[in-house]
Symmetry: C2
Subunit: 241 residues, 2 copies
């Protein structure tokens, strides 16, 4: 067996959000990642591999290295590529802590934040409608299978927040030190866009603004990257739980 033209066209189209949404499919690459999706509630659509001994209990199409490099989004393709179905969004049930992203653009940042939610036991991640798509291949790659364990919901963020009754906390450079902050029993923590931070409409809805103290003396120091800031704040919320 090898790759048909239709398969080639379908798979490469899935690098774009428009076609992922149209076909309700997304790409996972590499043995470890695919294994995690196979062992989750995600449904497999098709599997392509250069080595027929991999995933023998699933039906797969054996393809050449050249074919794999044609369908892979990676610089160094990794023996196997799987197509999975995009599941229906689960019903959202807020737990003690929810993270929300206000237009996070970078796929690597979203992937890292999904992994952090998994590590720190945050079940729900809310994304504003302009946040990068969580089924983008680079996000799937960076999230290392954590996508199978964190529920991600795309919402109109300010409209959603207006209906909430739990405290809304935003992270911003000029907020109160997180060291002097006691996390409420239930809350939603919002992280902003890489360049612009929290948007004005969301800022207006915040009950509290927190920040990470800077210890370096130089004022020129850029703000922390949104993924590293999320790491520090999640750790602060959890250790005080």
């Amino acid at each position: 067996m090898s790759l048909s033209n239709n398969q080639l066209k379908l798979i490469t189209s899935l690098r774009r959000k428009k076609y992922r949404n149209l076909h309700k499919l997304f790409i996972v690459e590499g043995i470890k990642g695919i294994e995690e999706f196979l062992n989750s509630s995600f449904q497999l659509h098709s599997l392509f591999t250069t080595d027929e001994t991999i995933f023998q209990s699933y039906s797969s199409t054996v393809i050449s290295e050249t074919e794999l490099s044609q369908i892979s989004a990676l610089k160094s393709p990794n023996e196997v590529l799987g197509i999975f179905k995009i599941p229906e969004e689960k019903e959202l049930e807020l737990k003690d802590l929810t993270i929300a992203l206000d237009d996070v653009n970078d796929p690597g940042n979203l992937g890292t934040i999904i992994r952090l939610c998994d590590w720190f036991g945050v079940q729900n991640l809310l994304c504003s409608l302009h946040t990068v798509d969580c089924y983008n291949p680079k996000v799937v790659q960076a999230s290392m299978g954590s996508l199978t364990r964190v529920s991600i919901h795309y919402v109109h963020l300010s409209d959603f927040l207006k209906k909430l009754t739990i405290p809304i906390i935003t992270a911003d450079m000029d907020g109160k030190s997180v060291y002097e902050f006691s996390p409420p029993k239930q809350s939603i923590l919002i992280m902003g866009n890489e360049a612009n931070g929290i948007s004005n409409e969301v800022e207006l809805l915040a009950n509290e603004v927190i920040s990470i103290p800077r210890f370096g003396m130089q004022k020129e120091t850029e703000s922390l990257n949104v993924a590293t800031a999320t790491a520090i704040l999640l750790n602060e919320f959890r250790r005080k739980r």
Copy 2:
């Protein structure tokens, strides 16, 4: 004026460590980054710009957009590219907290860690000889000018550590919880390689091993990325100071 063949050859060669070390030069791209290096103790070698109104007080070569894209290491080149001299390593004087990296490979991770050291006031960053070069264009890009404020020293890590009398602390999955850990007045914290963690020779020299507690229930969760783990641990060391 435009770009000579010799200049083109020199600049593109600087993407490789071998030629950076040979010429003792490295590349900085973008107005903001170059501004920070110009305002630091780093010495400018040459400046190339597509807009003659930028950095008028410095002598620069005006080049075309096409020429800039030839010499730029970025996908979307950014008006100006500067070549700076690699300074002599400063004499190392250990402060209260030093970070050391045991073969960190990814340029984005090193850049983020340099930025974190800057934020948390860590003056010295030690890198094992196999850690990615801090003058790699991707590291310079990711460190956002923090490279001008953090002293980076490449050393044979285990030999260096053997001579130390201050506590050596390593970060590892099966260490003691950092929440139960009190940072000594002076110490060195070592972060390991992305795939393999701390090397055996370094592990043998550790006085204490610390870890970041996982709150998620699933054991499948990958360990945290080295840059996000560094963020959390630096925050823990500093807030307890």
